[in-house]
C-alpha cells in the first residue's frame, strides 16, 4: 500500500510540475483576433442597417418592438406572396372554357359540349355525362331542326293575321305566354 501511495504521489506531482507547454500562443492569438475582426465586421453591417431604419427611435424597448414588428410583417408579406404565387400556379394549370369562344367550334366535340351547356344550363347533372359523338350530333341536329321549324311556324303566323288573332285568343284563354326558344 505504501508503494502505491508513493507511486500515486509521484505521478500527481509529476503531472502538477509538468504544466502543458503552450507553444502556439502567437498562432492562437492571431486566429482569435482574426475571428473577432470578422465578427465585428458582420455585426457592424447589421447595426448600420438597424440604425438606418430605426435610428429615429431613441427609446430602447420601442426600437426593439418596432424591429420585431417589422420582421413579423416582412415574414407575413413573404408568406402571403408565396401563397398567392402558389394559387396562381394552381389556377394556370386548370382548363378555362369561354362560352363565346366555344360557339365558333360547334363542329368539334368541345363546341357541341358548349352548345349543350347553353341549351340546358343548370338542368344538366353536375357529374360527368357519357355520350358518344354520334349521339351528340343527332341531338344537336334535332335541336336545330326544331328551331328551324319554330321559326317557320312563327313566320307563317305573322303572315296570316287571322291565324295570329286566333292563336292569341287561344293563348289568352289558356293564360299562357309565348315561349321563346
Amino acid at each position: 500500500m505504501g508503494k502505491n501511495s508513493e507511486n500515486h504521489n509521484r505521478i500527481i506531482n509529476l503531472l502538477r510540475a509538468s504544466r502543458p507547454i503552450f507553444n502556439s500562443a502567437s498562432d492562437i492569438e492571431r486566429e482569435v483576433i482574426q475571428k473577432i475582426s470578422q465578427k465585428n465586421r458582420s455585426e457592424t453591417v447589421l447595426s448600420d442597417i438597424t440604425d438606418f431604419l430605426f435610428g429615429w427611435v431613441y427609446i430602447g424597448w420601442v426600437r426593439r418592438s418596432l424591429i420585431t414588428a417589422s420582421v413579423v410583417l416582412v415574414a407575413y408579406f413573404v408568406w402571403q406572396q408565396g401563397t398567392i404565387i402558389r394559387q396562381i400556379k394552381y389556377l394556370s394549370s386548370q382548363p378555362v372554357m369561354i362560352e363565346s369562344e366555344s360557339r365558333s367550334f360547334q363542329t368539334g366535340f368541345s363546341g357541341n359540349k358548349a352548345m349543350l351547356l347553353k341549351l340546358f344550363g343548370n338542368k344538366l347533372p353536375t357529374q360527368n355525362i357519357t355520350i358518344s359523338k354520334e349521339q351528340m350530333d343527332n341531338l344537336l341536329e334535332s335541336v336545330n331542326d326544331l328551331q328551324t321549324q319554330y321559326r317557320e311556324l312563327i313566320k307563317l303566323i305573322e303572315e296570316d293575321p287571322e291565324l295570329k288573332k286566333y292563336l292569341e285568343k287561344k293563348l289568352t284563354e289558356m293564360n299562357r305566354t309565348r315561349i321563346k326558344l
Binding site: N4, N7, I11, L14, S24, E29, V32
Partner: protein, 191 residues
C-alpha cells in the same frame, strides 16, 4: 498527500479589461497573451489532447471578447474564464462520448512506470502528459475530471472550484474522493 507548490495564476487588472471593453483590440491581444496559457493548461489537462485544447482556448477567447461587459472585477474575470473553459471541455467530452474510449495497453503502463521511476523530477512533454492523463482519468466522469484537474493539478481552493464548476463544497469533496480513489486503484493495479 497534497504537496504545496507555487502555481502561476492569471494576473490581470480591471483597467486592462475596461480598455478591452471599449473595443481596443491591441489591449485584448495582451489579455489573450496573459490568459491563454492558463486556459490551455486546464483544457489540456481535462481533455488530454493538445489540438482540442487549442481549439477550446480559441473559442474561449472569442467568447470572452463577446461577453467582456459582464466582468465586474479582475478576480471575477479569473473565475469566469476557467468556467468558460470547463464548460467548453464538458461540451467536447459529450461530443467525444460517441468515439471509442482510450484504453491503455501493457506497454503504455510500462512507459508510465519507467517515466516516474527513472526520472521523477524531469518535466513531461505534452505527449507524455496527455497519455498519462488519458490513462488515469479515462474512467472519471466530466465533473470528477474537472474537480481533479482544478484541485490536484491546478491547485485551486475548494471555494474557487465551487465557483467555477457550480458544484457545492460537499459535492467537490465527494467527486475528488472518487477521482483520487479511481486513480489510486489504477496505479495500484498497473504500476
Amino acid at each position: 498527500m497534497r504537496l504545496k507548490s507555487v502555481t502561476p495564476t492569471i494576473l490581470t487588472d480591471l483597467k486592462l479589461i475596461e480598455e478591452c471593453r471599449g473595443g481596443n483590440l491591441e489591449k485584448f491581444r495582451k489579455l489573450v497573451q496573459m490568459t491563454s496559457p492558463f486556459a490551455f493548461s486546464v483544457a489540456f489537462r481535462m481533455l488530454g489532447d493538445e489540438d482540442l485544447a487549442k481549439d477550446i482556448v480559441q473559442e474561449t477567447m472569442v467568447t470572452i471578447w463577446q461577453k467582456l461587459n459582464k466582468i465586474k472585477s479582475a478576480e471575477a474575470y479569473k473565475t469566469w474564464i476557467y468556467r468558460i473553459v470547463i464548460n467548453k471541455c464538458y461540451d467536447q467530452m459529450r461530443k467525444k462520448k460517441s468515439n471509442p474510449e482510450f484504453t491503455a495497453d501493457e506497454n503504455t503502463w510500462r512507459l508510465i512506470s519507467d517515466r516516474i521511476s527513472v526520472e521523477p523530477s524531469a518535466e513531461l512533454e505534452n505527449s507524455e502528459t496527455a497519455m498519462i492523463i488519458k490513462v488515469l482519468t479515462n474512467k472519471l466522469s466530466p465533473k470528477q475530471k474537472a474537480v481533479f484537474v482544478l484541485s490536484d493539478l491546478e491547485q485551486m481552493s475548494q471555494d474557487e472550484i465551487s465557483e467555477i464548476t457550480g458544484i457545492s463544497k460537499s459535492g467537490i469533496k465527494a467527486n475528488l474522493h472518487y477521482a483520487r480513489k479511481s486513480i489510486s486503484v489504477m496505479v495500484e493495479k498497473y504500476l
